[in-house]
Amino acid sequence: MHDRRSWFVLSMLCFGFAFLYVPILSMVVYSFNASRLVTVWDSAHSPTLAWYVELFHNSEIMEAARLSFRIASVNATGAVILGTLAAFALERYRRFRGRGLFSLLTTAPMVLPEVITGLSLLLLFVVLEPLIGARGATTITIAHMTFSMAYAIVVIQARLATVDRSLEEAAMDLGARPWKVFAVITLPLIAPAIASAWVLSFILSWDDIVITSFVSGPGSTTLPQYVFSKVRLGVSPDINALATILVLIVSVAVIVAGTYMMRRDQRRIRDAQVALGAGG
């Protein structure tokens, strides 16, 4: 009975993982395919790195990747700064007029349909064109910040709620002015949340296509937009190569972060045991 159930659980687990990762795995495998046709495996000449070489010689892709990277970085930084301020206001000043409305408005972009957000921003940028110039990298960044910020607020506010208020009071009691308290006590304590909010905002911006399509201009094509337009004309194998590189970067980042956090937790447990053993 027990054996049969564990067999069932194991097969469900395998199915789940296969469902999630087989498409990605096949994409990785096909990135080494020599054939120009995506669906045909050319066993005579494979595996090959030809598509990787071609990828780095494709200036259009590289340009789009650079633009996406720039937009995502600026967006993440801006979203985190605004998100921290908003989260602080919501969490630390609990009794101000309109707090409920403010809270609702900051998180609304998460649930608003992207098409609506995109369209409304497009209308706004058309009106604002004399002020901020033609649509391009700037407007994309601003648009991305509007929805990234909502996620940043949620992440940072959750962390801020767990920071013991008496730490901030203690700092103030010892002579630190409110801004100093924020800089030297609150900020270091919520730094992990700020880092995750930054990464989250970066990724949200990096793979956004719907809102980007509304607010981008003729000269600015982000990586998702480029890939999307290429796929419409038929998938070319260098896109597989590009995707494989991205998967590699993400995997390495996850493994490094995971190892670091595991080591840190182990160290904390060890330290706590030493302290308890010392007694007194």
Binding site: D173, G175, A275
Partner: protein, 373 residues
């Protein structure tokens, strides 16, 4: 007793810390109601009360975290009612200790000095002096999570004292320590205070802690201070039923004043079924309902009937709890009323009473406390 209640005035100086008609309201809820209090320099003043009695709110107003709704706070002759916490000459030791987890012990202690822009060399000197004083030399590079509870408590104390505040506020300073450590730390805290001469205001719900630490205690209930006095005053001369009952254990009986002379009174107590003779006068109208409080350790038990007629009762032992240093008895009177009696175990072969023993209870005429409120 008057001299105790206004020690500064007795020495001819103005009070060091003065609270005048302090009130704090949160919406409709009154957390602190019209508290006026003088605290002398170098005193250890203890605010004692059950949770929710407003003692912490009072402490937070002293620290500057809460602004009083009414009233004012004076420290060393300066009105600090509206001075923000970072400009008050007051430091606080938090109940949770509130050590900064991302800083080392030395950085935690140095934090206050760094805010004042003290020179680096002086900071190092004073931090090490302070750590030595709380017996934590060599721990300066540790982080708070690498310390035990007792060590954290001492870091918090060092951090609060390093700026040499005029007033140190301690919120349940020993609450998070285990019993043995708490007893040791109580005495360390008092000796440290004596050496530094800093005025302490301590908030606690633990009456034993208040009794050992405080030079004076203020008993609080529902936002008001009911009584202020030395630990002995509070224990031996409680001013109200609540204080008598709150501090220590007590037998409380209702009675009626039948004989009221300047040097003695007699009180008819139905619950006891006897007359209580008290060898001092009380200020209450004749025939007024009063309460008589008798501490369990002030009642003597004996097998033979002692001489005299007043303050004498016969009863039967219905409960015995041997505690080592003392034995607690529950004695039932013929009318069913039960009295608690504590007898110290002075010698090992002492006669102790057993369940169902017939005993005589008696007490000295100076022992009962008569309260009218």
């Amino acid at each position: 007793m008057n001299a105790v209640q206004t020690p500064a005035a007795a020495r001819g100086g103005a009070p060091y810390v003065r609270l005048e008609g302090l009130t704090k309201r949160f919406g409709d809820f009154v957390a602190v109601r019209q508290v006026s209090l003088d605290i002398a320099r170098g005193e250890i003043f203890c605010l004692l009360g059950a949770s929710g009695c407003g003692k912490t709110t009072l402490l937070r107003m002293l620290a500057g975290f809460e602004t009083p709704t009414e009233g004012s706070i004076w420290i060393d002759g300066v009105d600090v009612t509206h001075v923000p916490p970072y400009e008050r000459p007051v430091n606080m030791m938090f109940q949770s200790y509130a050590l900064f987890p991302h800083m080392t012990v030395a950085q935690n202690v140095a934090f206050g000095l760094r805010q004042d822009g003290t020179a680096k060399s002086e900071i190092d000197g004073r931090v090490h002096e302070m750590l030595a004083m709380v017996q934590l030399d060599g721990y300066d590079k540790r982080k708070p999570h690498q310390l035990s509870g007792g060590q954290r408590q001492r870091v918090a104390l060092a951090r609060a004292l390093v700026k040499r505040p005029k007033l140190l506020l301690l919120d349940e300073p020993l609450g998070a320590l285990d019993k043995k450590l708490r007893e040791r730390t109580q005495f360390e805290l008092v000796s440290l205070q004596e050496r530094l001469g800093v005025t302490f205001v301590i908030v606690t719900h633990d009456q034993e802690e208040a009794m050992t630490l405080a030079s004076r205690i203020g008993v609080m209930r529902a936002g008001e201070i009911l009584q202020v006095g030395t630990p002995t005053d509070i224990y031996e001369f409680p001013g109200s039923r609540f204080v008598a009952d709150f501090i220590g254990s007590v037998n409380m009986v209702e009675g009626r004043l039948v004989e009221d002379e300047p040097d003695h009174v007699r009180i008819q107590c139905e619950q006891l079924g006897c007359m209580v003779y008290v060898d001092h006068g009380v200020s209450a109208p004749p025939d007024a309902p009063v309460a008589v409080a008798i501490r369990p350790e002030k009642i003597q038990l004996s097998r033979e009937q002692p001489p005299g007629t007043d303050n004498l009762l016969a009863g039967r032992v219905t409960g015995v709890a041997y505690l080592g240093d003392a034995t607690r008895y529950l004695v039932q009177l013929p009318n069913g009323f039960q009295l608690r009696v504590t007898a110290p175990n002075v010698s090992r072969r002492e006669e102790r009473f057993e369940q169902d023993d017939a005993v005589w209870l008696s007490w000295h005429p100076s022992s009962p406390v008569v309260v009218t409120r």
